[in-house]
């Protein structure tokens, strides 16, 4: 099949559109991923703090009982 110059131009235009859309999707995905990663990190920090507080309370009660 022969491909004319006009075909090539149309193909270039379509590829530019596809590339634009591909990049836009990637641009939208990235902050979404980093935001999710941040939330996961915050949850882990919150869990660590809660565990520390729980240990401190248990230690305080243990100390009170010993006294």
């Amino acid at each position: 099949m022969t491909v004319s110059d006009a075909d090539i131009e149309r193909a270039r235009y379509q590829l530019a559109r596809e590339e634009y859309n591909r990049r836009m999707a990637a641009i939208q995905s990235k902050p979404s991923f980093l935001g999710w990663l941040g939330r996961v990190g915050l949850k882990a920090i919150a869990a660590a703090i809660a565990a520390w507080v729980w240990h401190a309370i248990k230690a305080a009660f243990g100390l009170a009982a010993a006294l």
Binding site: V3, I8, A11, Q14, R22, S29, W36, V40, G41, A44
Partner: protein, 260 residues
């Protein structure tokens, strides 16, 4: 122990996989399994039979070989979890479920439509994205209009696609550059304008209709971008990680160098 403790903030262009330690990557994988195992990425696909819903999903996420069906609700309503793998990023190769909610009988039997619509109203709120497909060659849009009118709560979230544009008259697809012919392109533009108006009459806004061909890989990036845009911002990335096609896949090898 806090996750990622002591890590510097990432640069925007930085690959997370290159920055995180092996231990952190395992934590990311665990978090992905936990978060998305309990609440998998879900696509609701609406459209009368034969609009190419399954073909599109298979093309975008390469799911045709890894399908397992489970039936939910009535016997005709399907929420299909498909096992796919994450394709990039720190959790690359991690298996995950992608759920496609689909009512294959929609529009086939008017007596069952109320039940189908009830199920859509129950299922669609759980979908991250809702894709409404209408076949390019199907001129009768009244069914689409009727269903749309009954699914008003979802109007703002729906992405509209015009499928199977490779079958538009005069069907002389330009295989040399993998594009519709000029005559087809004009007809596709007419079809899109007509459907846009008819759908706008029902939903009260002018939607963007994206013409595409799953079989030819035409305009899929545009459709995918629209899907990503409509997904909840906190969950957009998961679809990007599962996307299993690239526009370059569909450029005929002979002209790839000429056009790039």
């Amino acid at each position: 122990m806090a996750m990622f403790r002591g890590r510097k903030p990432m640069d925007p262009g930085e690959d997370p996989a290159a920055v995180l330690s092996a231990e952190d990557i395992e934590k990311v994988k665990y978090a992905l399994r936990t978060d998305f195992g309990a609440n998998p990425p879900t696509i609701g696909v609406i459209g009368v039979s034969g609009t190419g819903k399954s073909s599109l999903i298979n093309r975008m996420f390469r799911t045709n070989l890894l399908i397992s069906h489970t039936r939910a609700g009535t016997k005709d309503f399907l929420a299909t979890p498909m096992s796919v793998r994450i394709l990039k990023g720190p959790a690359k190769d991690e298996p995950i479920n992608l759920v496609v909610v689909d009512a294959p009988g929609l529009g086939e039997d008017v007596r069952r439509d109320p039940a189908y619509l009830d199920q859509y109203n129950q299922q669609l709120p759980q979908c991250d994205v809702i894709l409404w497909l209408t076949a390019a060659r199907n001129r009768a849009v009244s069914l689409d209009q009727q269903y749309l009118a009954k699914l008003k709560p979802f109007h703002e979230r729906i992405v509209f696609g015009v499928s199977q544009v490779d079958l538009v008259h005069p069907m002389d697809w330009n295989a040399g550059v993998n594009l519709p012919s000029v005559a087809m392109e004009e007809n596709i533009a007419d079809i899109v304008a007509d459907r846009t108006q008819k759908i706008a009459d029902v939903i009260g806004r002018t939607p963007e209709l994206i013409p595409f061909s799953a079989s030819q890989g035409y305009n899929l990036e545009a459709l995918f971008n629209a899907l990503i845009s409509s997904a909840p911002p906190t969950r957009r990335f998961i679809f990007g990680l599962l996307k299993n096609f690239s526009y370059a896949d569909f450029i005929p090898a002979g002209i790839r160098d000429l056009v790039q």
